[in-house]
């Protein structure tokens, strides 16, 4: 409880400070400090949740349970390395591309922290309206970040992102309204019907017709935000155009946040109409996303677009796993949501160093990384292992747990389709990776960033690999609590 408000406030305050500081050598430090503080507070929150269980705060506006704690950890634990890397990367880019000439100083940091704050609020919000507002805020902040470099591509990507996500968001608002209405008669005091906890507890009495309608709109709306096919179209453009640290954050933290928002609706619907119906829809969209990503992963020239499609595939896998509805699958899905974030963030951060070093975003322009730069090459290999899900990366275990739960469930067909998709994706990704890692390196490739920029990536890699061979009890308990929230 005591940890919650500071956690939500530290980021916005830091952002304001950055804005105030402008171009000062303190600005990056403030960014790092607030990210670190957020991570520390999130850890404290997890400890609180594990010991004390779920609790509601701020007069029912905020609510913390396993899912919240887990997503908060994902958000903050990814934000810190990204910010760390960015503090080395963005200045380099600025002086190479003169971006800051067109851009008020300190605003990158401010926007990043604003995004972080919005995501945390959206995660911890109990009031669905508040959650909606926070996610909309996150969308706006990230849209500005996507357009950070004002080159045509960036503007185009930002425009598509903004338009598509705004539409999605407004559909989500309609969903919120419908849910609110479906419970309108139940609760006396105004606004109680917007509180997720109330709705969950009273799910049985809700009007299923409206709940279903609400879930459909939420699926389309927040689904678009989470990048589920076929609402995913904005995603490759945005991820490939956004500054590297931002892309890393969006493909992991923002994805987790939007999914958790969707999961709130899912939980209520499952409790109201019985799990079969929403599970079916989840499985459908999950499998669709995985299959849809396959061709773009097979035939792809750009590294960051490849990662974008891979994150569509992973989001699909998580959704599908939850759609399976068996405890094992849900556990696997949430575990995958957690562990894939580290793999993806690592892969995106590498895009910065390697892409800038090779002056290209095309994969065939940086072969032989293992030889060109053993450190980056090794990290790239680890990232690849994590993305395709090979041991000892944690994604291996999570993927198989998710599918293992699936084979047993009523959606065995979807599980088999997903397995096939995974295999083909493996073919595609291993092909691209074999070309990036091996072969004769290009002349004059050099890691453009100081060696310190490897540290955050090593940290991500370490977590990824450790979670593949050992799952500490607290993490396991956390994931189990989160699974409890999704499907009690």
């Amino acid at each position: 409880m005591a940890w919650l408000l500071p956690l939500l406030l530290v980021a916005p305050l830091g952002g304001a400070a950055c804005l105030a500081l402008g171009r000062s050598r303190w600005t990056p430090r403030v960014l790092l400090a607030s990210c670190a503080a957020a991570l520390a507070l999130a850890l404290a929150l997890v400890a609180r949740t594990l010991t004390g269980g779920a609790f509601t705060a701020a007069g029912g506006w905020l609510h913390v349970d396993g899912l919240v704690a887990m997503v908060a950890i994902i958000v903050t634990a990814i934000a810190l390395p990204c910010a760390w890397y960015g503090s080395l990367y963005m200045p380099f880019v600025a002086e190479r591309d003169h971006t800051d000439a067109r851009w008020a100083p300190g605003r990158y940091e401010a926007l990043l922290l604003g995004l972080l704050g919005c995501m945390l609020v959206a995660t911890a919000a109990n009031n669905l309206g508040l959650m909606w507002i926070a996610i909309e805020g996150a969308t706006l902040a990230s849209a500005l970040l996507v357009g950070y470099y004002r080159r045509p591509g960036a503007v185009e990507a930002a425009w598509k992102y903004l338009v598509l996500c705004s539409v999605g968001i407004s559909l989500a608002l309609l969903a919120t309204v419908l849910l609110y209405y479906s419970a309108g008669r139940l609760f006396g005091e105004e606004g109680a019907a917007l509180q997720w906890t109330h709705l969950r507890d009273a799910a049985q009495q809700l009007d299923p017709r409206f709940v279903k309608l609400a879930f459909l709109f939420a699926l389309a709306g927040y689904g678009a935000k989470a990048g589920l096919a076929p609402m995913h179209s904005w995603l490759p453009d945005a991820y490939s155009q956004a500054p590297t640290p931002v892309a890393a954050l969006m493909s992991t933290a923002l994805l987790a946040t939007s999914l958790s928002a969707l999961l709130r609706f899912f939980a209520i619907t499952a409790a109201c109409t019985g799990p079969a119906w929403p599970c079916g829809l989840f499985a459908l969209f999950g499998a669709l996303s995985m299959v849809m990503a396959v061709p773009f992963l097979l035939v792809q020239g750009e590294y960051k677009r490849l990662l974008a499609y891979s994150s569509i595939e992973h989001a699909g896998l998580v959704t599908l796993a939850i759609g399976f509805g068996t405890p094992l699958a849900v556990f696997g899905g949430l575990f995958h949501l957690l562990v894939q974030s580290f793999a993806k963030a690592l892969a995106f951060l590498l895009a910065g160093s390697i892409g800038r070093g090779a002056h290209s975003r095309r994969m065939d322009h940086f072969p032989g990384m293992l030889e060109a730069s053993p450190a980056l090459g090794t990290l790239l290999a680890v990232a690849g292992i994590g993305l395709v899900g090979l041991p000892p990366a944690g994604t291996f275990v999570s993927e198989w747990l998710a599918l293992a739960g699936g084979f047993a469930s009523s959606q065995g067909v979807a599980a088999r389709i997903a397995l096939a998709a995974l295999v083909v994706v493996f073919l595609g990704l291993t092909f691209h990776w074999s070309r990036m890692l091996l072969g004769r390196p290009r002349e004059g490739f050099a890691d453009p960033l100081p060696a310190g920029s490897h540290a955050p990536m090593w940290a991500l890699a370490a977590v990824l690999l450790v979670l593949g061979v050992y799952l500490p009890a607290p993490v396991r308990a956390l994931i189990e609590q989160a699974a409890q929230v999704v499907l009690p």
């Binding site: 309206g129 185009e156 425009w159 539409v167 407004s170």
Partner: protein, 224 residues
């Protein structure tokens, strides 16, 4: 609490009337070739929305709805159209929206969407509760129409118009179904909407300065 079942209200007919006007203005916007005309249509749409809000406020006597109505008038019927108009002027005056398909075909499509929306949402209500009976279908229909506008127009600004129409529709649902959400929420929603439109305007500007005009069909450099 019986306020929630205002069948006996004579005013419900006015609400129905306004809801019809709301939908019509949306369709009118969808039928426009000219940008400024579409913006005007949106303005009427917002006015209808504000009136509905006002009526509901009177009916229920809920203060925050009255406030919401005022806000709607202020923001949706005045500020946003102004912003959009300024953009449109900067974008070369009374430009043409250049629809992909001709107006009649577009109208047919919109009609189909409206029918779909009504058929899917009517079923949700019993014979009674007339306000709801008209408003939710209208709002869903308008949502689809707004989306259709976004799909079928080349101009960036037209897509903004479609988007704000969608927002209106949802706001209609909020007001009519639930007699308004908690005030704070509505504030936030409106604020976000405002910022969003401002941002969209900003990016329309950027598109112009990078592409030289606002034909969004040219924004296809990122593919595959």
């Amino acid at each position: 609490m019986n306020l929630l079942f205002p069948d006996w209200l004579p005013r419900s007919n006015t609400v129905n009337l306004l809801a019809g006007a709301f939908l019509l203005s949306a369709l009118y916007a969808a039928a426009q070739r000219r940008l400024l005309a579409a913006i005007t249509a949106y303005q009427w749409n917002s006015v209808a929305l504000g009136l509905i809000a006002a009526v509901v406020a009177v009916v229920t006597g809920a203060r925050h709805i009255a406030l919401a109505a005022l806000l709607v008038f202020a923001i949706k019927a005045v500020v946003i159209p102004a912003v959009l108009r300024r953009q449109a002027m900067r974008g070369g005056g009374d430009t043409v929206a250049e629809p992909f398909m001709g107006v009649p075909a577009g109208m047919l499509a919109c009609g189909g969407l409206v029918v779909l929306a009504f058929s899917q949402t009517r079923a949700l209500f019993g014979a009674g509760s007339s306000i709801l009976a008209s408003c939710l279908p209208v709002s869903v229909a308008t949502t689809l129409v707004g989306l259709f506008i976004m799909v079928s127009r080349r101009r960036a600004l037209m897509q903004v118009v479609g988007l704000v129409i969608v927002e209106n529709a949802i706001f209609l649902a909020a007001v009519s179904l639930t007699y308004g959400m908690p005030l704070v929420v509505e504030m936030g929603v409106l604020l976000d909407l405002l910022v969003g439109v401002a941002l969209l305007g900003l990016f329309v500007g950027r598109i112009e300065e990078t592409l030289g005009d606002t034909d969004t069909t040219r924004l296809t450099s990122l593919k595959g």
